[in-house]
Amino acid sequence: MALTTSTDRLTEDEVRSLAPARARIPRALAGGTRWLWELATGAPSVADERAVTPRNPDGQTGANRSGYPWGPAFRNHLWSTTGGSEGDPADVAFQRTLGTFDVGERKQWVARFRVRPFVERPLTPFSRGYLSIRCAAGSGAGTSSAVFKLARLETPDRQTSGTATTSSTTIGTQADLAFVDLRPGLNTVLITLDSVTTREIELYSLSLCQIVTRTH
């Protein structure tokens, strides 16, 4: 028994009183409900039959929260690092640093991480990863600043950058300094610390997140 499926849209005029009783109305309502069922449940509406809805970016049936039309995307953790185990256990604060960087020093991290599949369209929610860091000012006086640059390994010249500044020796957060374009699957991203000026900077962690729920 074939069940109704449809992508018809109804207007207000079509469903008001005294409107003609047309087959379009039951077809649109019954067929649209079938679509909704499959998007919500992630399963074909009829057992042993193919789903009538398109497959999501994972190649599966249903809305998988990877951005419109596959459901509103989550703010998502992508990748992170913390320092090696070189901390002093006698220090009860026991913060493990990524290192202390002198004025003029340069450092590069190669970030390799997997991104869940998403529809590759400009400005879709999962199409960018944003860098946030934990840092503090090191030895010296004044305000420490450092430029962070992000680029994909295959396109190192296409960079975005942001500047972290701090004059406090208390560890603080610098959010969303720069972003990098993402691809579904394995990503390799170069994160470069450059142009440390005025005063040493201490780094404690780096994180990349997908942060916007609909579009950028």
Binding site: G31, A73, R112
Partner: protein, 439 residues
């Protein structure tokens, strides 16, 4: 009054909805019942148990979110020569396996100081009623350069992890037996564990999206503007009621926008007034899916909970899981590590029930069951004591109800709270931790 609701999808035969069909009400009855069922599954209203929690099998599409995406970099294995013949966990982290998500691709980027990687075994350790160890075959690339990283070997394995009844804790580890070949050490640059899914599909949503009340219908529909239809409204002896047709069409369109996360094409006058956020602000029973945030290893440890390099000295050795010395004051929280991460807008963040953590520690000093692990997010703290994983010197704490700031960048600090007031080195090695949402 009988609220119409189906137990599973009913649908309508083409013969009931096609041109020339007799005008009957059974198609509208099926639409009303199916819409009510979907509404209840999405919102958890009306005591629905088959809620959409993204666990597959008709409970919503799997989310396929990665479990581990960690950059380790300086973690080195430089074992003490006296520890030859002892198996070492050179990377070990706990993960909570989402229900229904069983197949995974594991990858690790390693750099060997000896011939390797022939003497490195990849094992997956799962825990149910006891430790069970399963060794998985892996492939290894020849060493190559990646950006500024030289001689990187990537090992890959495809894993099947049992989820059992409900989500299950598993322990993912790279282990190595100390021997001559890799005596000089191995560096874990980074590792990844993510669900195995097909390659990314360039989905072409070119088909029109289905029924909605379009222009000039200017009133924004909300998903809960109706709670369903009564049997009396769609009885055999009634005509086709314009109110029912309008409400059903509007409800369908609103739920479609709720599920899809945006305004349906061709209806720009409308706005989505409710989002599928799982924040339980509109729907108190809205189901929260299992969403892994991150899982990390913090350092190496030897089997049996034996400290990697240091047991009694005052310094941590590079590569070893960090030891937390007990502090001069009992019950003082000692910071171990702090992470930054955005967290989604789930349940009630002020009094949450779904943000949770697992902390894994090792010790060869016997009982630490008076110790606890604590998560501090800045929005509050939550703690749990450790319980033993039988005979492997491993202890785990499961922390629930962690407060957080919804939809924003959170500072997540792992802390250890001890119960003694004297300084003791090497008593507790902090091996790994995992943060996740779970109903």
């Amino acid at each position: 009054m009988t609220r119409l609701k189906s137990t599973t999808y009913r649908g309508s035969p083409v013969r009931d909805t096609g041109v020339g069909s007799s005008i009957k009400t059974r198609w509208l009855d099926s639409v009303a019942r199916d819409l009510a069922k979907i509404y209840d599954m999405l919102t958890g209203e009306n005591a629905e148990t088959d809620t959409i929690n993204h666990s597959g099998g008709g409970r919503g599409a799997l989310l396929n979110l990665p479990l581990i995406n960690q950059h380790v970099d300086r973690l080195m294995w430089q074992p003490d020569a006296t520890k030859r013949g002892v198996r070492a966990f050179i990377a070990l982290a706990p993960v909570k396996i989402p229900d229904g998500q069983t197949t995974y691709r594991f990858q690790a980027d390693l750099r060997f100081r000896g011939p390797g990687p022939g003497d490195v075994d990849l094992e997956i350790h799962s825990y149910d009623s006891g430790w069970t160890k399963t060794a998985w075959p892996f492939t290894a690339t020849t060493p190559r350069d990646l950006g500024s990283l030289e001689n990187v070997t990537t090992i890959t394995a495809d894993l099947t992890l049992s989820t059992g009844a409900g989500s299950t804790i598993a322990y993912v580890a790279i282990t190595a037996m100390l021997g001559e070949d890799i005596f000089d050490g191995v560096q874990v640059l980074g590792w990844r564990l993510s669900p195995s899914v097909g390659s990314s599909q360039r989905t072409d949503w070119s088909q029109d999206t289905p029924a909605l009340v379009g222009d000039p219908f200017l009133v924004a529909a909300t998903i809960d503007e109706t709670t369903g239809f009564d049997g009396e409204q769609i009885a055999d002896n009634r005509g086709l009621d314009a109110l029912v047709l309008t409400s059903a069409t509007s409800w369908l369109g609103a739920m479609m926008e709720y599920v899809m996360g945006g305004v349906l094409p061709g209806n720009n006058a409308r706005t989505v007034t409710d989002e599928w956020h799982h924040d339980q602000s509109t729907f108190a029973s809205e189901p929260v899916p299992h969403v892994p945030i991150f899982s990390e290893t913090l350092g190496a440890i030897l089997e049996g909970g034996i400290p990697f390099c240091v047991s009694t000295s005052s310094a941590n050795a590079e590569g070893s899981a960090p030891q937390v010395a007990t502090t001069a004051s009992a019950s003082t929280a000692v910071d171990v590590v702090t992470k930054l991460t955005y967290l989604p807008d789930f349940d009630d963040a002020a009094s949450p029930t779904t943000l949770k953590a697992i902390v894994l520690v090792g010790t060869d000093h016997g009982l630490i069951d008076d110790w606890s692990a604590q998560i501090d997010t800045g929005a509050g703290t939550s703690a749990a004591v450790f319980f033993s994983l039988l005979d492997d010197g491993m202890w785990v704490a499961e922390i629930d109800d962690i407060p957080y700031t919804a939809g924003a960048l959170n500072r997540i600090t792992l802390q250890i709270v001890t119960d003694v007031g004297t300084v003791v080195y090497g008593e507790c090695q902090i091996v790994g931790w995992h943060l996740f949402f779970e109903e």
